[in-house]
Symmetry: D2
Subunit: 314 residues, 4 copies
């Protein structure tokens, strides 16, 4: 039997909740419903053990991980009624860039550090990467902050035979991929795009932050849609009652043969944190396998799972 991948998670938000609840469910049921890669290098979706967790909010630090994932403002649903304690106590994470050694000391047996905190604090993200290097662990940056795109850092991970994966997660299934797929299909078939729009609504703390501090995210969305001026992005809407659901409305107006109208309306409903967890589970197994094999640096096979892989603009 393969040794389980040992993981430290930084950030105990909705995405971590979806990840650890999913691992529990898949272990219990044995099925692989909703799973992209049932096995990666011999590791199944249940073969990942969270051995350490870090957070900064008072409501999470000091509690068992399987309790902390339900602390406010988390609102990803409780999927299993029988979730036992994780046996992992959430520890105080970094609030500034000092404390790298302390974190390294707490990583223990972790093979991989999954950085799953909110975007927007690149210094903190890099401090955790330093801690991983120090402790001999791989590192995955799921935020938009540039970590894997930092060439010096990448070279140091390479030199130590440790994987460094990032930056920014592409969701397993979400609005961008559906919208992009439909726009590409139209173009392949020779239709002429007239206009398109996308509206996104959700109820997580992440979305509340983005609504209150818009900017970079919208730009990254626009980039994902090819920067086409005919594709409009309506402002993100924060609707608390949606909880961790994301609802999107898409419209595409195009012209076909002889200029006749083609019109396409889509409503999509997903759980955002599931989209993240469904990709994280793959990145974690790639990273663990790479570290075990001594493959340092960036595992190119993860490119499709990332929005800004090494080499993209910072």
């Amino acid at each position: 039997m393969i040794e389980k991948a040992r993981v430290a998670v930084v950030g105990v938000g909705n995405n971590t909740s979806a990840l650890v609840q999913g691992i529990h469910l898949y272990r219990r049921t044995g099925h692989v419903v909703g799973v992209r890669s049932p096995e990666i290098s011999g590791l199944g979706v249940g073969d990942v053990d969270v051995v350490a967790a870090f957070a900064v909010s008072a409501g999470k630090v000091g509690r068992d991980l399987h309790e902390a994932i339900f602390a406010s403002p988390n609102n990803f649903p409780r999927l299993a009624t029988d979730l036992p304690p994780a046996g992992v106590v959430v520890q105080a994470g970094l609030t500034d860039e000092t404390g790298v050694e302390r974190i390294a000391g707490l990583l223990g047996e972790a093979e991989v550090v999954l950085y799953s905190a909110p975007s927007g604090r690149p210094g903190i993200a890099r401090a955790y990467a330093e801690a991983a290097l120090l402790a001999g662990a791989g590192f995955i940056n799921t935020t938009a902050d540039p970590v894997a795109r930092d060439r010096t850092l990448m070279e140091r991970f390479e030199a130590d035979g440790l994987p460094l994966i990032g930056d920014d997660l592409a969701s397993q299934f979400g609005t961008s991929v559906v919208h992009g797929t439909l726009l590409r299909l139209l173009a392949e078939r020779g239709l002429t795009l007239v206009s398109s729009y996308q509206v996104n609504l959700g109820g997580t703390e992440d979305i509340r932050n983005l609504v209150e501090h818009p900017g970079s995210k919208n730009q990254s969305k626009r980039n994902a849609l090819g920067g086409d001026e005919r594709v409009g992005l309506a402002p993100l809407g924060y609707l608390p009652h949606l909880g961790s659901q994301k609802v999107s409305h898409l419209n595409i107006e195009a012209l076909g043969w002889a200029g006749t109208e083609v019109s396409l309306d889509v409503k999509l409903r997903v759980h955002d944190p599931s989209g993240a967890a469904g990709v994280n589970i793959d990145l974690l197994r790639v990273a663990a396998a790479a570290r075990r094999a001594g493959r340092g640096g960036y595992p190119a096979e993860t490119a499709a799972l990332l929005k800004s892989p090494p080499g993209s603009a910072v």
Copy 2:
């Protein structure tokens, strides 16, 4: 300047209306809005001349082609107010399988025969193919009736250096391709399909016939969707007010990571005859170029434009 492809059309329904109106518009405007292949073997979308046309209804035979395309029950819209007479008079087509020589004699300079009559009369379709052979023209069968799948016939076209293309047109853009693309995207991303449905509504004579005599078409639709039992096909609806528009409602329910729900609703509105014309214009140019090059038989590059290419089940 390249010599225009000379085409005989069999059937003066909505699809022929969309084809000849589109050719006129593209010639007049010079643009290529909604066009899949601006050029094929040097032939632009305006480089196709209809030199003969056949129909059976009293309202069409004997009239100029550019008038006949607006005769009842055709309801594809009039796109240009300035459509001049075509200079081609619609001739009486076959009502049974005799008369092959007569048709061959009327094909004149035609390089390609486009068979665009309603499905369901395989004998008639084959009689026109015989006429094309006799007159030295290529043949395109856009119906579901087996013509290009008839090996003996294919060998005779090969032997004569004449192209034979078919069977059954895949629309340039329609419900099947959107539904199929979304289902494939889900599968690629590891989502587990729970259920899906498709409802199609339209207002053409074709759709009225299918509603009154269902069967084969639904089966072919189901095949296009992969024969998955979880994908339901609601009965086709005939709503005269839709005219040549086709409206479809799709729903997809799936499970993502940890079994969380993903739901996708799509409304699609297209003009069915435009979807046919947008593919016919490509098949015609491939066929004309093949005949000029003496390439007989089946041009494999058309496979993606057909629902039942040679080799599929009859």
Copy 3:
């Protein structure tokens, strides 16, 4: 404390399942979520006791009512995990018009008979009404078969001081009321209707029967929509995976001031049996109260809950 209304149900299909499960839930929880009339003549939604039940299928007769409601082909969901036995055994109902006395004998203490079998057997419906008369019970006909529209029968119920309510249930909330409300709103505001359509999809045995034997129901639907030719009704679709859900797609195209376009698309999802039960619970209480007060005949206050009240065309 008020005496509970004592009811005999004829037909143990999805509608009866929704009714008895709902009564159980409201009693247990005490809330009135989704309830139209929390109290009628002092009777709450929990103040209805089913004291007898009749069915004809072998899978239902002889079983406790709370088991029989889950027997195939019923597919209304199990709402409560803790449903205790009803203490009422389903008895063999009528298969022809003889046996009125036997049924009357089995009605026992029932104050009201709720006729909730499939439409299409008017003789059977009337036989149950005769049994109710004989046993001194009121009668509610939820089918489209003419019972309350039979003047002679109505006079006999009146003479005996027994209520007779029917015919045909208007759902608590469904496609017809939403479509009708929106069409009326448009008209009130002076918009000019161009076209409209309605597509209905569902997965119950009822819907399967209607798909296989269309006709009368579609006509009644059309009547409900005002018989306007511009309002199209697409064929009903049977999609087993929908279970007892009904999904509808509506479209309305209209013209506003200066002939500018107004367009409205609606998707509606409901549980059909809940729509029936939510009205039956009101009819039952009205009937029980009327019988107790000696008010025989048709209680006019139920007109809004019926599709074909006395006086409508048979």
Copy 4:
């Protein structure tokens, strides 16, 4: 033949464009498609003459009204290709509260002043009302600024036998009325609202202003929806390609009998300026008739056409 109502319009934006183009079209065609009140006090929709117009932008002042309505940023479509000059030159309007006498002098024969400038400048709105009083004309305030809610002003109009109508226009047909109607229908039927949202998208200058300076309008929207916390309002989206179209997405989640789910999704597409013009045409005719009859003050029959009639909170 009735004497036409003589009107002065203040503001030459999209709403004025819709109004004057509509009047032209109805006169030319004689039909009443999309009209709420074909006749009011003997005045048809074509019986309104614009005799004076005021604007402040350099691109509009000095031009014929039928040209000025197409000046940027107006983007309501050109509905008729044959619109003749109006014979009315747009005059320089007020930019501050001085100049009441000048405006009064320019009103000439106008019986009614229609104030159709952007909301947010109550002093200017009141100055025009003063000018109307001085010139002996009625006044209609279509903005949210308090004019008709000013009791002193109302008393002065009453004393002079001049009508004063306002404040804030309720659209002939738009998102608020559809959303409100559906929420009321649910409540009437006893369904329990779980959550609802509304997203509005548009491409006019008005919407651009609201997106850049949100606040009061959203509050007024929320009031229109009954201030229910379960009804969420997503941020307004400015999508220039929509032009004067408004697109809205509504969702309603509710519970029916026994707590089963009811779900309703709506997409609505209208032309906002048509919604305004379709109500203005009624207010103008009511006002002209009231003035002719010497009925001063507030004509109560206009309450349903206004969002904040006299007596509502300022």
